[in-house]
Symmetry: C2
Subunit: 367 residues, 2 copies
C-alpha cells in the first residue's frame, strides 16, 4: 500500500457499507478543483453530493450548514471545517453556522451567556483568522438560543418524532434529561431552516460531518421527508470526513490538552507539542534507515496531510523520503515545527485583529 493519503481509512469502509454512505472518490473527478481534503480522501464519503455538485457547476443557489459547539478550546482538528467553508464560500455557497449553545447547555452544563462569550473569543475570532470573512452577507452565524425561527422549527419537527424513535437512534433512556433528548430536533432545525421560504429555500443543502454524526443526518433526512409536502424540503446532502488523531496517538480532544494543538497555544507550546508527538519512526536509527518510517502511523505526518501542506507534490515528497529512510523523524519534526511556528505566528496576529470584528458578528441581524 503506497498511498500517501491512506492512513487508517479501512475502518471507514465498514461505516459506509452499513449505512449507505457512498465513497467520495467516485464523484471526485466531477469536481473541477477539489479541495485537498477531498483529494486526499480525508473527506471519504457522501450522501447525495450530486445535488451540490450540480449547484456548484451550474452556479445555482445552495447552502452549507455546519455548527460550532462552544465548549472548551478550538483545536487544530476543528480547522478542517473552516478550510472547507472557505472553499465552499469561493464556490458560491450560502453559509450557515449555528453555535450549539443549547446543546452545550444540555451536554456540558455551560449556560447561554458563557457559550456566547466562548463562541466569540475562542471560535469566531479563529474562524475569521483562518480566512473566513464572517461579515459577508452570505454567511450567517447565530446562537441557537437566540434564533426564534430555529427553535420554532425544532418544535414543529418534534411533532413528527416520538421518544421510541429517539431512543432507538441515540440510546436515550427514560432518565435522559429532556433537554438532551430534544437536541437532535434543534440540530434538524439548524440544518433545514435555510430551506424555508423566508430564507430563500427550498435549496440543496450540504452538511459536512464526521461519521459519528451520521445518525443526526439520517434523522434530519427522515424529518425532511415527513414534512416535504408542507415545506418542499430537499433531503440534505452530507459529506463524511475522518478525524486527525490526537498527538499522543489516541483521539484528539479539547479536554486532554496533551492530545491537541490549540489554536491559541503559543508558538513555543506548539513547537514542544510537535516535537513530542507520536511518530511512525522505528525502534533504532539503523532500523529506520534500513526499513524507512511509517507515515501511516505518524501524527506529525497527519498534521501535514490535514493542515499544513496544500501542495500534493510537496506532501508526496515527504511521504517518499520517510518511507525510503532518507528523512529521519528528528529532521522532519524540525521542519514541521518550523512550518507550524510560522503559520501560528501569522495566525495569532490575524486572530488579534479579528477580535474586534468577532464581537459584532452575533449582533448582525439576519433575514
Amino acid at each position: 500500500m503506497i498511498d500517501p493519503w491512506s492512513s487508517k481509512i479501512l475502518e471507514y469502509n465498514e461505516i459506509m457499507e452499513n449505512f449507505g454512505i457512498k465513497p467520495f472518490k467516485e464523484i471526485l473527478d466531477k469536481i473541477e478543483d477539489p479541495h485537498w481534503l477531498m483529494r486526499r480522501g480525508i473527506i471519504f464519503g457522501h450522501r447525495d453530493y450530486e445535488r451540490i455538485l450540480t449547484a456548484i457547476n451550474e452556479g445555482k443557489d445552495f447552502a452549507i450548514v455546519t455548527g460550532m459547539m462552544p465548549s472548551g478550546r478550538m483545536h487544530i482538528g476543528h480547522k478542517m471545517i473552516v478550510d472547507q467553508l472557505v472553499w465552499y464560500d469561493e464556490h458560491g455557497a450560502e453559509i450557515y453556522i449555528p453555535i450549539a449553545d443549547m446543546e452545550s447547555y444540555s451536554a456540558r452544563d455551560i449556560d447561554f451567556e458563557e457559550s456566547r462569550e466562548l463562541a466569540i473569543k475562542e471560535y469566531i475570532s479563529s474562524y475569521i483568522a483562518l480566512g473566513l470573512d464572517l461579515t459577508q452577507d452570505n454567511i450567517h452565524v447565530y446562537l441557537q438560543s437566540e434564533n426564534l425561527l430555529v427553535e420554532d422549527l425544532a418544535y414543529i419537527f418534534a411533532k413528527k418524532v416520538n421518544f421510541n424513535e429517539l431512543r432507538a437512534i441515540y440510546g436515550f433512556t427514560g432518565s435522559t434529561n429532556m433537554a438532551h433528548v430534544y437536541v437532535p430536533l434543534i440540530q434538524a432545525a439548524d440544518i433545514l431552516h435555510p430551506q424555508l421560504e423566508e430564507y430563500g429555500g427550498p435549496r440543496p443543502t450540504l452538511v459536512p460531518v464526521g461519521p459519528d454524526q451520521d445518525p443526526h443526518i439520517r434523522l434530519t433526512r427522515d424529518i425532511a421527508s415527513r414534512l416535504q409536502k408542507r415545506y418542499g424540503f430537499i433531503l440534505p446532502s452530507s459529506t463524511y470526513h475522518r478525524f486527525m488523531r490526537g498527538l499522543t496517538g489516541g483521539k484528539m480532544s479539547s479536554s486532554k490538552p496533551a492530545t491537541a494543538i490549540f489554536l491559541t497555544d503559543t508558538p513555543d507550546e506548539i513547537e514542544w507539542k510537535v516535537k513530542n508527538a507520536k511518530t511512525g519512526g522505528r525502534e533504532t536509527l539503523e532500523e529506520q534507515k534500513r526499513l524507512g518510517g511509517v507515515p501511516e502511523d505518524c501524527i506529525v505526518y497527519e498534521i501535514l496531510l490535514y493542515h499544513m501542506i496544500g501542495s500534493d507534490k510537496e506532501l508526496e515528497r515527504v511521504y517518499r523520503d520517510c518511507r525510503n529512510g532518507t528523512l529521519m523523524c528528528g529532521e522532519c519534526k524540525n521542519n514541521v515545527a518550523d512550518y507550524m511556528r510560522r503559520f501560528f505566528e501569522k495566525f495569532s496576529k490575524k486572530r488579534k485583529r479579528a477580535e474586534k470584528i468577532a464581537e459584532s458578528i452575533l449582533d448582525r441581524v439576519h433575514p
Copy 2:
C-alpha cells in the same frame, strides 16, 4: 343543605385532600372585597395563596399568569378567567397572558399563523370587550411561538426533567409525539418567566386553574424548586375553580355547540339555548309548586351563579324562590334569557369596537 352556592362541590373535596390543595374558604375572610367567584365557592381551593394575599394587602408586586388556548370558539365558561383577571388588575397584579399556540399545534394540529388569527379574532377581542384593557402596561399578551425568552426557559427547564417523570405525571408513552411531551415545559416557562430578573422578578405569582390542570402546577413548582438556587424562584401559588356545566348537563365544550354559549352567538341563538337548557325543574307543574325546584341541578341557575348576577342578595332571592316553588322554570328562563340578551347586545357592540385594538395587541413590544 341550603347553600345557594353549593352545587356539586363535594367531588372537589376529594381532589383537595389527595393533592394537598387547601380550601379557599379558610382564607376568604382575609380578603377585603372577595370576587363573587370566591364568595360563592366557585374558586374552591388554593396552594400558597397567602403570598398573594400579603402582596395584595401590602400593595406589593405580584404576577398572575393564565393562558388562552386558541382552538375553536371562546364560550361563556372561559369568561370566568377574564372576570378574575379584571379583579386582579384592580388589585395591582402584573398580568401575563400566554397564547398557547405551541400546545395548539401539538394537540390540535393548528399551525402558528392560524392560532394567531384565532387568538386575535376570537379571544383577544372578547377579553377586551369583557372589560380587561389589554393595552395597559401591566398586561402582557404573547404567543408562545414568538417569545424567545419563554422558549429558552422551557429548554433550561427541560434539563431538570426526564421522560420517566413526564410519563408518570401525564401518562405519555414512547409513541407520544415529542412536541406533546414538551408542552409541560413550555407551560412551566409561561408560569415562571415573570419571575426572571429581566421581568422584575422574583415575585409571588398566581395561576388560576381548573383542578384538571393541577399536574402542571405541581410539576412547575418542582421545577421552580430545582432551579431556586439559580433564579431565586418563589414557588408559584394557584387557585382552583370548578367548571360551569354544559347546557345539556354534561361538560361544556367548544366542540359541542349545543353544550355551550359562545361569546359570538347571536342574541337569538343565546335566547334559544337558555330556553332549552337543562333545569332543576320537577316532572309536573303541580309537583314543582309543592316541592320547589332544585337549583343545584339547574344549568340556568349556574349561568346566574357564575356569570350574570354579581349581587349575592339578588342571587339568593332567585335560589329561595326556586326552592320554595314560587319561581317556575318558564318564568325564570324568560328572566335569564332577558338578562343574557341585554348582556350580549352590549358585549357584541364592545367586541366590535375592540376588534381594531385586538389586532395591535400582539405587535406590542414587551421587556
